[in-house]
């Protein structure tokens, strides 16, 4: 017989962070063009943003391009001859043409397709076509405009602020140091990635992945019983820890769950042989912070738009690029260690496909939510205790916008 839950106010996470309050939050930030432009100007143009990983550019001469419409630019990231990672606005100093037109590649020099001006991997201008016909150009002042770039655990961050107010390490702070030491490099060898242009505000997407309250309903056909069980019917988190801007949710995993037939095969043949020891004692303090034996995964929510979910032997990221107040370029990446056999590769495939399909459950929901948010029928959304991160994001954003 099911126990009747007592009527009570369960707000232990909000008790931990009383400064956030418990009121509803406004809908306007999710639908307003003006708010979107303020986010662009006061947040995205000022903070460290994750745009890739070092495995994308392992060798000198490797480069990739990240279009950042939200920052009104395109960023060229390149591994120099000296092995250093550099980033530049992808723009020729002559008349502003976009310098590199493809998404990634390898080269020794970047040549503009317009008039042939040529740049070295360190961004310096090497060659001006018909140089004598110019009027006293100083080549050394006409290199590509650099963009602040730094890496943390192999993640490449840039900051388009010409004078960033803080270093990347300062920006990440304790959430970064807490998970430094997780074997990102070993687990990043294999990457499966999807992208889509979704008709929803970037925060609608972010909210979907910073709460698990929806899992037992929306994902009842896929992973409903992964994060909920008899001892935890509503997928309550093992822990929420908030940092000044970032936040972390630590999740329960249901050990009583019966896998499906194909899932069972994937589990049995998917043992991942990695050098790193994934046992909980060896994990950094910020991974499974409560050291709970029923732990499954942590969501490290980096303000503003980068979510890194770490688990045993695999991790995944969501990166959300605002395109408009009701449109987002959503990038998902799932990382696994190198599969040493085809059976392990099958196992990774199953895991990746069921994950992709659960994202499809979120995708349609997010677009429908956005369509109704824009109706004006309501002005507020209501948040429960386990939706703490939604509230935190709103508060941090207000701090930036009102600064």
């Amino acid at each position: 017989m099911a126990a009747v839950a007592p009527v009570s106010h369960h707000n232990k996470w909000h008790d931990r962070y009383p400064e956030l309050g418990t009121k509803p939050i406004p809908i306007e930030p999710y639908i307003s063009r003006e708010y979107f432009e303020k986010e662009r100007e006061r947040i995205f143009s000022k903070v460290w943003l994750n745009i890739g990983r070092v495995e994308q550019i392992p060798q000198p001469g490797n480069y990739f391009v990240k279009d950042l419409a939200v920052c009104h630019t395109s960023i060229l990231v390149v591994r120099g001859k000296d092995g250093a990672v550099r980033a530049f606005h992808n723009m020729c100093s002559h008349r502003g043409n976009q310098l590199v037109w493809d998404k990634q590649g390898t080269c020794q020099l970047f040549a503009c397709k317009f008039h042939g001006w040529t740049y070295a991997l360190d961004g310096s201008l090497r060659h001006i076509t018909d140089e004598d016909n110019f009027f006293g150009l100083k080549k050394e002042t006409l290199g590509m405009t650099p963009v602040a770039v730094d890496t943390w655990e192999g993640f490449i961050f840039i900051n388009v602020d010409p004078n960033p107010k803080e270093t990347l390490a300062e920006y990440l702070g304790e959430i970064g140091t807490g998970i430094t030491g997780y074997p990102f490099d070993e687990v990043s060898v294999t990457c499966f990635s999807w992208q889509t242009d979704l008709k929803a505000n970037w925060k609608v997407i972010k909210d979907s992945f910073q709460e698990v309250y929806h899992i037992s309903t929306l994902h009842r056909r896929t992973v409903g019983n992964v994060f909920a069980g008899r001892s935890n019917a509503y997928s309550h988190a093992l822990d929420f820890t908030l940092f000044p801007r970032h936040g972390r949710i630590s999740l329960f995993g249901n050990a009583d769950r019966q896998p499906t037939a194909v899932e069972s095969l994937a589990q049995r043949y998917g043992s991942m042989l990695v050098k790193h020891d994934f046992s909980v004692e060896k994990m950094p303090k910020g991974v499974n912070p409560t050291r709970d034996p029923s732990w499954s995964v942590d969501g490290n929510i980096l303000f503003p738009n980068c979510l890194i979910y770490v688990s045993e032997g695999t991790y995944l990221t969501h990166i959300l690029w605002p395109l408009a107040e009701n449109r987002t370029w959503w990038e998902v990446r799932v990382y696994y260690p190198k599969a040493t056999t085809l059976a392990q590769r099958f196992s990774q495939e199953y895991s990746k496909i069921i994950f992709r399909d659960l994202l499809m459950e979120d995708g349609s929901t997010m677009e429908r939510t956005q369509s109704m948010l824009g109706s004006g029928a309501k002005q507020e959304i209501q948040l429960q205790d386990e939706e703490l991160l939604v509230r935190q994001h709103h508060k941090v954003t207000e701090t930036y916008l009102n600064a």
């Binding site: 990457c191 499966f192 990635s193 999807w194 992208q195 889509t196 242009d197 979704l198 056909r221 896929t222 499906t260 037939a261 194909v262 899932e263 095969l265 994937a266 049995r268 043949y269 599969a339 040493t340 056999t341 085809l342 059976a343 392990q344 590769r345 099958f346 495939e349 199953y350 496909i353 069921i354 992709r356 399909d357 994202l359 499809m360 459950e361 979120d362 995708g363 349609s364 677009e367």
Partner: protein
């Protein structure tokens, strides 16, 4: 002499032996042996539940032999017939949610999968 050796090697990869010998019973399902997620996903979406279920029910009981067999091979330098078998298992992974979770080819009330672009293929 060299030509003879080449011919012999080529014969091992022709249509006469598309799958490793122990698994030739799966040959009727070779249309599911597809190298990319995009293709496998498209085939799942274009198939009827009867077609998906037939493939699933043919593969599942064989997997207890297929997987230990595939565990002998690394993803590099895989012989063509082993690769064909391997791609069949990837298609099983692709259709599994349709059979085990949704009871239909597509995610129930889900986002249009054609809009969710796999970059890794």
């Amino acid at each position: 002499m060299r030509q003879g050796r080449n011919t012999k090697r080529k014969a091992g990869r022709t249509a006469e032996c598309p799958l490793p010998k122990p698994f030739q019973d799966l040959a009727p399902y070779l249309a599911w042996s597809l190298p990319t997620e995009r293709e496998r996903s498209a085939k799942r979406q274009a198939s009827t539940m009867a077609e998906i279920t037939a493939f699933y029910q043919a593969m599942l009981p064989r997997m207890e032999e297929v997987l230990p067999y595939l565990a002998q091979f690394s993803p590099e330098n895989t012989p063509a017939d082993v690769k064909s078998l391997f791609f069949l298992t990837l298609s099983l992974a692709e259709v599994a949610p349709a059979v085990e979770n949704f009871g239909q080819p597509s995610v129930v009330e889900g986002y249009d999968i054609a809009r969710f672009i796999p970059v890794h293929d």
